[in-house]
Amino acid sequence: MANTACFMIVARNDIPIYEAEVGSAAKREDAAQLHQFILHAALDVVQDLAWTTSAMFLKSVDRFNDLVVSVYVTAGHTRLMLLHDSRNEDGIKSFFQEVHELYIKILLNPLYLPGSRITSTHFDTKVRALARKYL
């Protein structure tokens, strides 16, 4: 089954630092902007929700037509956001947890400036592999 999914990491200061289209559905031309727009719109909801719970995985926080936004907020308020149309909560949770671990490894690199773009191709390959595995 073809599914759409867009994954994005947003830093503390609301700047996207990593972005990947990980779905298998055929690409629509305006899809990238549309996905960015929906994820951006969900940021406000995330901000309110993040202070009401100490869990990192906030489940689905927002929806647009048949697209759902799931969010994972880390301790340093970096947000991992996934836009998807499948209903596989456990898979999404595992996906987030593994990406979180990868993100920590990137962050622990003293040459990485927190809040700057993640340019590592290794990271990109690993995230895409995780997306294929869990989503």
């Binding site: 100490s54 947890q97 490894k105 962050l107």
Partner: protein, 225 residues
């Protein structure tokens, strides 16, 4: 070099599992490294305040990483959303991992509501350091203050953190106190703020006392940045 030959080689840091945090670093090695850090920064500045700021910045980078790592490793992926929660996280979890013991004390300031102090009889970074007379109130604890600031800031509780020497009676060495002064918008409790937001959503604009209202506005301004 320690551990040469024992370490498994990984082609990329991302393949390497996160450290369990069981290894310890030699205190002498750390003291040498820290001494170099202070000496190097001393050549780059022309006053004490600037030197403290540079040490604090170095600590800040440590703090922001330590928060993310420890919440994952020691707390099983729970975030801290309460003020006292994050303070005790700093006082016990962070201190234990960085310095091998929990901090000697965590107290609330007596004069101001929004001040907290973490005191340590012999702070690890100050153990081999004595301050020359001409450097006045300089305190290398600024590095640790920076770590604390990094943790608090990134967890969403911005604060001004400073390190001070406090003489104790009958002891030659003063103890070090890390003074944490939270920004105004933090002192309004999160639950109060959430209630306010909730009432706002129901279109019942609550009338708040002016002092609290000012804090709410500040918090909103910060959140919308």
């Amino acid at each position: 070099m320690i551990g040469v030959g024992k370490m498994k080689q990984y082609s990329n840091v991302l393949d390497k599992p996160l450290s369990k945090g069981k290894q310890e670093v030699s205190l002498s090695a750390f003291a040498f490294l820290f001494s170099e850090l202070v000496q190097y920064n001393q050549t780059q500045v022309d006053n004490i305040a600037e030197l403290e700021r540079r040490l604090e910045d170095a600590g800040y980078a440590v703090g922001s990483r330590v928060l993310e790592l420890l919440c994952n490793r020691e707390k099983g992926n729970r975030r801290e959303t309460r003020l006292l929660g994050i303070l005790s996280f700093v006082h016990s979890t962070v201190w234990k991992v960085l310095f091998g013991k929990v901090a000697d004390s965590l107290e609330k300031g007596t004069e101001h509501e929004d001040e907290y102090m973490i005191s340590e009889k012999e702070l690890l970074v100050n153990r081999f350091i004595s301050i020359p007379k001409d450097m006045g109130t300089f305190n290398c604890g600024a590095f640790v203050a920076g770590i604390v600031k990094g943790v608090l800031d990134n967890a969403g509780f911005p604060a001004v953190v400073t390190a001070h020497f406090v003489p104790i009676e009958g002891q030659q060495r003063p103890r070090t106190t890390i003074l944490i002064k939270f920004a105004d918008e933090v002192s309004i409790s999160t639950s109060l703020y959430m209630t306010y937001l909730y009432l706002g959503k129901l279109n019942l604009s609550p009338v708040l006392p002016t002092s609290i209202h000012a804090q709410v506005l500040k918090r909103e301004a910060r959140l919308s940045q």
